[in-house]
Amino acid sequence: MTVARFWRKIPHRYNLIGTRCTTCGEHYFPPRQMCPTCRREGKIEDHKFRGNGEVVTYTVIHTAAKGYEMQAPYNLAIIKLDEGPSLTGQVICRQDEMEIGMRVRSVFRKLGEESNKGMIYYGTKFIPE
């Protein structure tokens, strides 16, 4: 990911800033600029999520994504935030602690890096609540 592409999303990645449609009240994370329910009738504004939620499903990744080799094995989960939307994120805990339905909260971690001389990507991961 290039510098500008990462930088553009810093508020969303660091602080879980998503969006909310004031017409229907639905919350969106990752942020959406078009409400799928209200479409052009919708009015979108920023919304900061609290960062608490529940594991919907998970996996332990052994064959890592490119650039994530040193982190393997790592826990990846779909997390349903308390405000409604779901996102994909890593859960930092022992593999045997992972279970569907577990409560988690957000923490600030390194997501990855461009290379050992490139920029470092910081963002949100989760730990057991």
Partner: protein
């Protein structure tokens, strides 16, 4: 709208084809389809080619021009060629575009091809190129891989419906068995449940043998207006339905993680268009990029109730001779998965089945067949129904 029929098919061997280049592959597949159909190059009105990532795999874009040029149809005949892309559903989508252009009356004879050369890059680049089918900004950067996304589907399917690793493995074992009877298959070896369960863990609960391989290959079909099909062949295979549906690109945005709703909707649209139900289908090629994907597909397409796919597979209901044979070609798992070629290869397999030329893997009395091609974790689904009868 006009009826459309397939009159010619061609396919390379699938596998790690170290001595073949990208253009070698599609020229072979395209020419054998044209030869099989008996058409002349001059008769071709247009071409559609499914290719996911020429840019990443062989650093080549402008695939349409390249293909039509090396097929010998550019400099003299100037045949229009269009590349279509929907990740792993690129091939199915190319076929659909070809069908639409004939059905609309715009064209009479169209070649639909699919090709991917994946082994000219290292495994990490290949995996990363495939990961581009998911949402790079909100899945990829979190460390998500494709096996990882399907593993999360599998985990929830197991949790919700009691599906077991053994049931997942049964899909792989069955597909390898079918692959032994398919001359073009990448893997022609029998495997056992234990071999699947003892293979390396890729993304829990998916093992190496739950995953389709990295493959090279190309495939092509010739579609024409049904009215002129018998001019070329005694056994045209008629297109009864061509349906496509979109779903969220990210798995986390699905209402139900264990259901690819794009598959459900594409299936429903296809059944409606064909005036058929799942009971009318004699065999189906589904998109088994992972074993769990086959289980979800046979449920989402209505062959089994949600949650019953694993048990049905384990019970042999999807084997050749079973209630609904699934992936007689060996599927993506055993036949191989050169991404852009897969959707076309599925149509090649069904055409062979309906022509009665599928050899040892022939399904008795095959009249109606279905193909199901998925992009990403379910962002795109393309379903076709074919029949011997117009």
């Amino acid at each position: 709208m006009r009826d459309v029929a397939i009159i010619g098919i061609g396919c390379t061997n699938f596998g790690e084809l170290w001595d073949r280049s990208f253009r070698d592959l599609f020229v072979e597949a395209g020419l054998s389809a044209i030869e099989d159909s008996g058409i002349q190059g001059e008769e071709i009105d247009s071409m559609y080619v499914g290719n996911m990532s020429g840019g990443r795999f062989v650093e080549q874009e402008h695939i349409g021009s390249l293909i039509v040029d090396y097929a010998g149809l550019a400099s003299n005949l100037h045949i229009p060629a269009t590349r279509v892309e929907a990740a792993c559903a690129s091939g199915g989508l190319a076929l659909r575009q070809a069908i639409l252009s004939v059905a609309s009356g715009y064209d009479n004879v169209v070649v639909a091809a699919g090709a991917e050369k994946m082994t000219d890059v290292g495994m990490d680049t290949a995996t990363d190129a495939l990961a581009a089918a998911a949402d790079r900004e909100w899945e990829g950067i979190m460390g998500a891989t494709f096996p990882g996304l399907y593993a999360m589907i599998a985990r929830l399917h197991m949790h919700t419906y009691g599906t077991t690793s053994e049931q997942l493995a049964a899909a792989s074992v069955k597909n390898h068995h079918n692959g032994t009877m398919n001359p073009i298959a990448q893997f022609k070896n029998e495997i056992s449940i234990d071999m699947v369960l003892n293979s390396n863990m890729v993304a829990n609960p998916l093992h190496m043998f739950d995953c389709s391989p990295i493959s090279d290959g190309a495939s092509a079909v010739v579609v024409v207006a049904a009215d002129i099909a018998r001019k070329y062949t005694d056994i045209p295979v008629y297109v009864k339905a061509s349906a496509q549906a979109s779903g969220s690109i990210s798995l986390h945005d699905r209402a139900d993680i264990t259901t690819l709703d794009a598959s459900v909707v594409a299936g429903q649209r296809a059944y409606k268009m064909a005036g058929m139900t799942p009971d009318d289908i004699d065999m189906v090629e589904v998109h088994d990029c992972f074993t769990i994907a086959e289980i979800c597909a046979i449920e989402d397409l209505g062959f089994f109730r949600k949650g019953d796919g694993g048990r049905a597979t384990e019970a042999g209901e999807t084997a050749i001779g079973g209630r609904i044979p699934v992936n007689t070609s060996g599927g993506l798992k055993a036949c191989g998965h050169p991404v852009g070629a897969t959707g076309i290869k599925q149509a090649v397999e069904i055409t062979q089945q309906l022509r009665g030329t599928a050899g040892k893997r022939q399904v008795d009395g095959a009249e109606v067949g279905m193909t199901h091609n998925v992009g990403g974790s379910g962002g795109t689904a393309v379903v076709h129904i074919f029949s011997r009868n117009r």
